[in-house]
């Protein structure tokens, strides 16, 4: 019986309708598991609260707290942090779960500090033993899994993306909406966003792509990433990069897949010239089918790949692409 709090985040679908983000569906799943017979509460910011609440109830939330504050709508992490701190103290919540994304990673430890709570990041599994909440998380890159017992509440967690099943849909489920007021002094935000720059083409987002074509150190330069982009487009997928390729400036850092980049779990992950370092596997080892193309037969990537070719991508990719095109036309 645990009270769990999450944040509801939304996106526009292809049909321009508001729906829960895939990240929120995964956090809801973790939240439901942590709450057990307890209450799963979701926070909603901004307009269209009832519509958003209905979506949250249908995916397992029991109650929705509506926070209306202009400062929150900007999504500024310090504002969200301050709001969560107040709500958590007011509602005596026991577990707060956030997506392990660029904002959640910054907020979770800070919230834990303010609430004298524990913090567990990159949660990949939730369980319990008696009244003790258990979290599982990766440790030592992707080599090991740690079982964490939460002896004292509250605890703040971040949920590793693309590791949990999305919460199932229960269309007629109902819940309670409450409006909550928080006191947010505009001066509380120390940092100021100057500009947000989007990298990469407009195509399918890497973290949601069904197919990812990823390049590593073996590509030896930025130019081959254009070939990967062509291949990704043909397969209706997205381009990823290893840390080595991003650090070399061959691909934007936001293309990086791995422990400090994106977590992905596509149907198909094609790793080209990627050795398979543990921190890279941490971001993609859950992919359903992994294909590896590498000149080194001993590369660790072949230990996780389902299909492999030991060879030079320069001689493999062009005929591969040509065959894919001829099979799809």
């Amino acid at each position: 019986m645990t009270n769990v709090l999450i944040i509801g985040e939304f996106q526009q679908t292809e049909l321009q309708e508001t729906d829960l983000s895939r990240n929120t569906l995964e956090v809801l799943s973790a939240g439901r598991a942590a709450a057990g017979q307890g209450t799963l509460t979701a926070i909603v910011f901004g307009a269209a609260c009832e519509q958003k609440a209905a979506l949250l109830f249908s995916r397992g939330a029991d109650s929705v707290l509506w926070l209306a504050d202009a400062l929150l709508e900007s999504g500024h992490p310090e504002a969200v942090l301050a709001a969560l701190t107040q709500v958590a103290a007011q509602t005596k919540v026991q577990v707060v779960l956030l997506a392990d994304d660029s904002r959640g990673r910054e907020i979770a430890p800070r919230l834990a500090h303010r609430l004298h709570a524990g913090v567990v990041t990159e949660i990949v599994g939730v369980g319990s033993e008696g009244s003790t909440l258990l979290f599982w998380r990766p440790v030592y890159g992707s080599r090991c899994v740690a079982e964490i017992a939460v002896d004292h509440l509250p605890v703040i967690g971040t949920v590793k993306l693309r590791s949990m099943e999305p919460a199932p849909s229960q269309p007629d489920r109902q819940g309670e909406i409450s409006k909550v007021s928080v006191t947010l002094d505009p001066a509380l935000t120390k940092t100021r966003l100057i500009e947000r720059v989007t990298e990469g083409g407009g195509g399918v987002k890497l973290e949601n792509a069904r197919v990812v074509v990823s390049g590593g150190r073996g590509l030896m330069g930025p130019e081959p990433f254009r070939r990967l982009a062509e291949l990704a487009e043909t397969l209706k997928g997205a381009v990823g990069a290893s840390r080595a390729a991003a650090d070399a400036g061959w691909a934007p850092v936001s293309f990086q897949v791995g422990q400090t980049g994106k977590s992905v779990s596509p149907e198909l992950y094609i790793a080209v010239g990627i050795s398979g370092a543990s921190q890279h596997l941490a971001g993609m080892s859950g992919s359903k089918t992994i294909v590896a193309i590498n000149t080194d037969a001993d590369a660790p990537i072949f230990k996780v790949a389902h299909l492999g070719i030991v060879g030079d991508f320069k001689t493999i990719l062009p005929p591969f692409m040509a065959k894919v095109k001829s099979l799809t036309s």
């Binding site: 650090d247 543990s278 299909l307 492999g308």
Partner: protein, 266 residues
């Protein structure tokens, strides 16, 4: 610009996979004969600090909380060019969790004096918690930015490139600031020159103990841990790679395409 870089010495995560072993009692990796290194992103953090000093002057101090062997990690950073290094080492600090470490580091930074910028790696190569930077910001009451790959300082403010899902943000922050550092092509750690390594090797490093830092004993050591690591397992993975047959790369490439088509992947 007075910058402190907090670094961690860890067992080399790039060591061959078959040499990775867990200690069943402590649930931690067994060191054995494996080399110890500075956690990768901490090196990027040292590089960022050095570049800022080149542009804005000031000093770079490297700090590490660890066992006596962590002296080698600090000297490595000083070989890159950091002005001073401080090792915080004391048996009573062992078993501190991230909250404990952040508290110890904060006390260390307060004792160092006026500090404008504190840098850490965005994630450590062993525990991978990603929390030290933000916890330090809370301890010190500084501004906080995580997953930053570039920092510039102009007129007493920092302009920071912070990596986000779709690309990056440019964020302005007051000083003092705690930033956790992510790698990119501008902060590749510089090589150390043999001459600099030898000069640093001869230096005596200050070692601060718990008593030097006026630490509240209830906030350090294993008793202060907020969660318990009950078990760590290394799942065994059977290699099941199907190597695509073919006498030539063209044959293999085409066979791969056919195989993926059979699997209905496109």
């Amino acid at each position: 610009m007075q910058t402190v870089v907090c670094i961690k010495q860890i067992i080399d995560p790039e060591a061959p996979a078959d040499q990775f072993q867990l200690d069943p009692d402590s649930k931690r990796q067994l060191r054995g004969e494996l080399p110890l290194v500075v956690s990768a992103y901490d090196q990027n953090a040292v590089e960022v600090a050095l570049q800022l000093r080149e542009k804005a002057g000031g000093t770079v101090t490297v700090v590490s909380v660890g066992e006596p062997e962590a002296e080698a990690a600090i000297k490595n950073a000083m070989g890159m060019g950091a002005n001073t290094g401080i090792l915080v080492s004391d048996p009573t600090l062992a078993g501190s969790d991230a909250f404990g470490i952040a508290y110890i580091l904060a006390q260390t930074i307060r004792k160092i004096g006026t500090v404008d910028l504190v840098l850490t790696g965005c994630v450590s190569g062993d525990t991978g918690n990603k929390v030290i930077g933000p916890l330090l910001a809370e301890e010190l009451g500084f501004a906080c930015l995580s997953f930053a790959s570039r920092i510039e300082v102009q007129n007493g403010k920092a302009v920071v490139r912070r990596i986000v899902e779709d690309g990056y943000e440019l964020v302005e922050s007051p000083l003092p600031l705690v930033a956790s550092i992510l790698s990119d092509d501008t902060n590749v750690p510089r090589y150390t020159k043999v001459r600099d390594i030898m000069a640093v090797a001869r230096k005596k490093l200050p070692v601060w103990k718990a008593a030097d830092l006026d630490l509240d004993p209830s906030r350090i050591g294993p008793a202060a841990q907020r969660v318990t690591i009950r078990d760590v397992v290394q799942p065994t993975r059977e290699s099941r790679c199907e190597f695509v047959p073919g006498d030539t790369p063209v044959e293999q490439a085409e066979r791969l395409a056919e195989r993926l088509r059979e699997l209905k992947l496109f």
